[in-house]
């Protein structure tokens, strides 16, 4: 089923920002094409749209910051930039209640397992934004003995925001990109993972535990 161009625009609309202002439209259009390749059930599709509207407009960040970028992340929440406008201000300190994690700041070797654990503690569906040069590639500390060269080695990253540190505007842009991405995903059969029974879960836990020791 071919999806019309106007329809596509509607899907990834962000209020009061022209579609062409976003730089990665090709990528998202490709994503939509792939998702719709086999066609979608009408009812599921409509439900999907409703749910994604909700999900996309209600992304709660985890309060997480390791270094410089964290201060800019605070600035995004503060008076001048005010991410509350997008409904993003409900920063949760508990990873269980957060929807996405802004990895703001360098991730070191010692921090990497902690970050992974935080990510694992978050409830599905969850997203990752890599903020700043350090999280993308190691940045200015690339040659250090104790810095992870890009968090995509340990986490599935959805949006990268370059900068050292990125300006608050850049962070808002990145968060809007995440909103667009979320709004395009298919919730049923894709983002919501198959539910596991309690026994399976216990087994998985056991496997995880033994793998670590």
């Amino acid at each position: 089923m071919e999806i019309g161009k106007s329809k596509k625009k509607e899907l990834v609309k962000i209020k009061s920002i022209p579609y062409d202002e976003f730089k990665n439209n090709d990528y998202l259009e490709e994503m939509v094409r792939e998702l719709n390749e086999n066609g979608t059930n009408v009812i599921v599709g409509v439900l999907d749209e409703a749910i994604n509207w909700g999900r996309g407009n209600s992304l709660w960040p985890l309060t997480f910051a390791t270094s410089c970028c964290g201060i800019e992340f605070m600035a995004v929440g503060a008076a001048r930039y005010d991410m509350a406008r997008f409904g993003l201000e409900v920063a949760r300190a508990s990873p269980r209640q957060a929807d996405f994690i802004m990895v703001a700041g360098t991730i070191t070797d010692k921090m990497a397992p902690v970050l992974k654990r935080l990510y694992d503690q978050m409830a599905d569906p969850k997203y990752v934004i890599a903020v700043g040069g350090c999280t993308i590639s190691g940045g200015p500390f690339k040659h250090s003995y104790h810095v992870v060269k890009g968090i995509d080695q340990i986490l599935p990253v959805d949006v990268f925001i370059p900068g050292c540190p990125p300006r608050p505007e850049a962070m808002l842009y990145g968060m809007m990109q995440l909103q667009r991405k979320v709004k395009l995903q298919r919730f049923f059969g894709d983002v919501n993972k198959k539910e596991v029974s309690e026994r399976e879960y216990e087994e998985m836990m056991k496997r995880d535990m033994t793998a670590n020791s």
Partner: protein, 358 residues
């Protein structure tokens, strides 16, 4: 003033014509239950939206504006998100209690909500010990919080829950004392009668000095009872990450979240009912013309107007003050509020005996 009991009794007679008595009452109960829950949900959404907008205004921000006009649909989006969010199962937790806790909190909250007289003739639970019942069910919530903290198997949750337990049980005392002061004045515990008594003037004015003291004590204690700032220790973000609900995700967390905000509304509405006349319009005895004009404003509007005003006052307090420490909170209660409450009760008793009130 429009009396809602006409509508309700009309529906009752209409149903009784077609159905047996038992079935008619059953259907009415279901309808009332659904109505309460719907109203509860609507209030929750309004409250959270209001909180976000009010705090934004205090903080030189504008708050949610992107989703719908002025961001009014923001909360709808949040609810959808919360509903589909995964509920994380925690290993090494007491699973039964862990799952039960949020429901206990929400049940206590809904029951207390049902006590409030919304307008003339629009009372759901209205019987002779209404105030007593209200106080009893509103303290069920603390059990849920303690269970949540205990069953999560998380040290932060446990500390949060223990703080919450100590705090809520202590402040219950002050609430009880200040309510008792008013009951000494009214001589009844039935909400409808308390409201009816205020047709000639709100109890805050009728009971003058002791009533005003009781009102202030009540507001402080009620704020603490809701775990709101500056008494938000149980979930003090900078100390205990998220307090007793640290481990809760998805809708379980949503229930805590909603209950917290509706509880704020409930305590404000209770204060509005007991001290500020509930749905009763503002009357000044002697000025009949003025009173008649006031009567044109529907009771529900009065009720919600007063309640939301008090909610706003409590929000103002929350967004202004720093957080207290746990020993300071208990000190404040046991060293100041309780003695003040007791003395105040005595004064009120004297006022009632010698007829010094209006």
């Amino acid at each position: 003033m429009f009396d809602f009991s006409k509508v309700t009794s009309g529906i009752h007679t209409w149903l009784s014509e077609y159905l047996s008595q038992g079935l008619a009452i059953f259907i009415e109960c279901v309808a009332v239950g659904v109505a309460i829950l719907a109203l509860y949900a609507i209030i929750a959404i309004i409250m959270i939206y209001m909180e976000r907008k009010v705090c934004a205004a205090f903080q030189c921000r504008i708050g949610p504006v992107r989703v719908g006009p002025f961001g009014v649909f923001q909360l709808i989006a949040d609810v959808i998100k919360m509903l589909i969010k995964e509920i994380v199962i925690i290993s090494h937790s007491d699973k039964f209690l862990y799952n039960l806790a949020p429901y206990i909190v929400i049940i206590g909250s809904v029951l207390a909500f049902a006590c409030l007289p919304l307008s003339q003739g629009l009372e759901i639970l209205d019987f002779n010990i209404g105030v007593f019942f209200f106080l009893a069910v509103s303290s069920i919530g603390v059990i849920g919080i303690l269970l949540a903290g205990w069953s999560s198997n998380n040290k932060f949750s446990l500390i949060g829950a223990m703080r919450s337990g100590a705090q809520m049980i202590s402040y219950e005392l002050s609430i009880g004392l200040s309510v008792l002061t008013i009951i000494a004045l009214t001589g009844t515990m039935q909400f409808s009668e308390i409201v009816a008594m205020q047709s000639s003037g709100w109890l805050l004015f009728k009971g003058h000095i002791p009533a005003v003291i009781a009102f202030v004590v009540y507001l402080i204690a009620a704020n603490a009872e809701c775990n709101r700032g500056p008494f938000d220790l149980p979930e003090a973000e900078s100390e205990l990450t998220a307090g007793f609900h640290t481990e809760y995700s998805g809708m379980h967390f949503g229930l805590f979240y909603v209950a917290e905000f509706v509880n704020l509304f409930i305590v404000s509405a209770f204060a509005a009912t007991v001290f500020l006349g509930g749905w009763m319009p503002f009357h000044i005895s002697g000025l009949d013309g003025f009173n008649r004009v006031m009567d044109y404003i529907p009771g529900a509007l009065w009720f919600f107007g007063k309640s939301f005003f008090l909610v706003w006052v409590l929000m103002w307090i929350k967004w202004t003050f720093p957080r207290l420490r746990v020993d300071q909170i208990l000190q404040m209660e046991w060293k100041y509020l309780v003695p003040i409450g007791l003395v105040n009760l005595t004064i009120m008793a004297l006022c009632v005996v010698f007829g010094w009130h209006f």
